[in-house]
Amino acid sequence: MFTPKTGAAWWGFVIGSLVLSAILVAVLQAVPQRFRRPIILTATFIGGLFYALEFFLPVAPMPTPQDPNRMGNFLTPYVVPFADTLPVIAGFTVGLGVINLFLLHGRRILKGATGWTNSLVFFIAFFLMLTFGILDKTAPEGSIPKNIYYLLQEGAYQALDATMFSIIAFYIVSAAYRAFRVRSLEATMLLITAMVVMLGQITVGQMLTNWLPEQSESFWGNFRVEVMRDWILTKANTPAVRAINFGLGVGSLAVALRIWLGLERGSYFDSQR
């Protein structure tokens, strides 16, 4: 059944699938309210079951031409096709964000609200980038679509993107001013470490301690600001980050287990219409 079709057979299967899906939606919609939550929880459990079983079931040698040492069970061959399908399904959800922005800016234009011209700019920019972004892949070198996409992407988008993130530098310096005020032992530690890291990264900072001998020549070389910075980032920072990651890993595993087994409480699982 799941073999490629062409011509009328293809149309038949596609239309049949659409009709079948419409029937499925109608049947699901006819389900009484009290059964909806259990159905969602079952779907959640089934969704997680594939990867969980693939992971927990015993494995045996399962060589392929590409990977002669592969180990797996009867679910392993489906891991890659399943994983390849997920981004495609996620790709269809991109429209959710687009619809939200269209509703927001469309309403503003229709009502002539303050800043409606900016909303118009949003629409023009969106459709220009979308159109020439798609045409760019197939257009020949030197063609108008290719050059317009170059102007939009290299000229406007990249410049705006880099500038937007560079503006954060100003905000972060403003935040640093607040954070670095010495009010407690923790704040002092944060201040000292951040100062050493920042000074060690710039030439002016390194000049402050360049009168000290090289690290290889003397013990006092360890107190050069760039050496201290390297030590903080590679020796002191690594175990702390690793420990934080262990905490995150165990925490995320616990949350995943709660979601998978339907134990998680909250608006998502509790309120069903």
């Binding site: 959640t44 269809f92 530098a169 944060l190 990264q201 990651n245």
Partner: protein
């Protein structure tokens, strides 16, 4: 048109880039119309770029091509599952969107087991490090292990102390009453402050590098278009002075400019 674009595209890119950069930086003075214009322009371009990329990199090669040109009709179900998400807009069919969202929450949860084992388990044995200094050692199978100096041993001890102290901070399953655990969790908290300081410092430097890159673009790349890098440099100094003057004047009048 085509010939003009082909000939002048590099110059146009410089001008567009410079106008966009300066327009965005106008926020440094206050909320203004120019900034709003470029903000919406960026939003539109970013959204268009994202949607175009989703189509050209994912949907077209992995869904449209096999479905339409290779006859893989069953891929229509992938679209139908994806379209279930759009039921969020319908009060009547809303729960069907939750069905598919629940399914993918389950998938993500199922993957978490594998992710945990692949990401974290290899880090556990590598966290146990040698702590006694020694010279080069030849193992029975002929391999030579490098010497461990006193400073390396000290760093390894420090590594494990920091790791254990910070981990002890994350014991939330019971109240930390035992004095040893209490002290080590306190030390872990301080050590995390060092880490956050290092991360914060690195982040600031990263963002400043981006700002320097934009200044480099304006002065060295765009500068020659208006008479040379020095001209652009002076223009930037003039603009910075103007922003400072206007901000000061606004502050004297007691206006809140919303500036950073």
């Amino acid at each position: 048109m085509s010939e003009f674009l082909e000939t002048h595209k590099d110059t146009l890119v410089l001008w567009i880039g410079a106008i966009c950069t300066l327009g965005f930086y106008s926020i440094l003075y206050r909320e203004n119309r120019i900034y709003r214009f470029f903000e919406h322009l960026f939003l539109g371009l970013a959204m268009g770029y994202g949607v175009a990329n989703v189509w050209t990199d994912t949907l077209q090669p992995k869904w449209w091509e096999p479905l339409v040109h290779r006859g893989h009709w069953w891929l229509i179900f992938v679209m139908i599952i994806g379209l279930f998400y759009y039921f969020v807009y319908s009060p009547r069919y809303n729960w069907l969107a939750r069905l598919v969202i629940g399914f993918f929450l389950g998938v993500t949860s199922g993957r978490a087991f594998q992710a945990f084992v692949n990401d974290y388990w290899p880090q556990i044995p590598t966290s146990f490090k040698p702590v006694i200094p020694h010279g080069p050692v030849t193992t029975p199978d002929g391999q030579t292990l490098p010497a461990l100096t006193w400073s390396d041993a000290l760093n390894n001890i420090l590594f494990m102390v920091i790791l254990l102290c910070v981990m002890s901070y994350f014991f939330f399953s019971f109240e930390q009453k035992h004095p040893v655990l209490k002290r080590s969790a306190q030390l872990g908290r301080w050590l995390m402050m060092f880490t956050f300081g290092a991360i914060f410092g690195s982040t600031i430097m990263g963002r400043l590098a981006l700002m320097i890159d934009r200044m480099d673009f304006l002065v060295n790349d765009f500068g020659p278009q208006i008479g040379g890098p020095w001209v652009m440099f002076l223009v930037l100094i003039g603009l910075a002075g103007l922003v400072l003057y206007l901000s000061k004047r606004a502050a004297e009048r007691g206006e809140d400019t919303g500036a950073i």
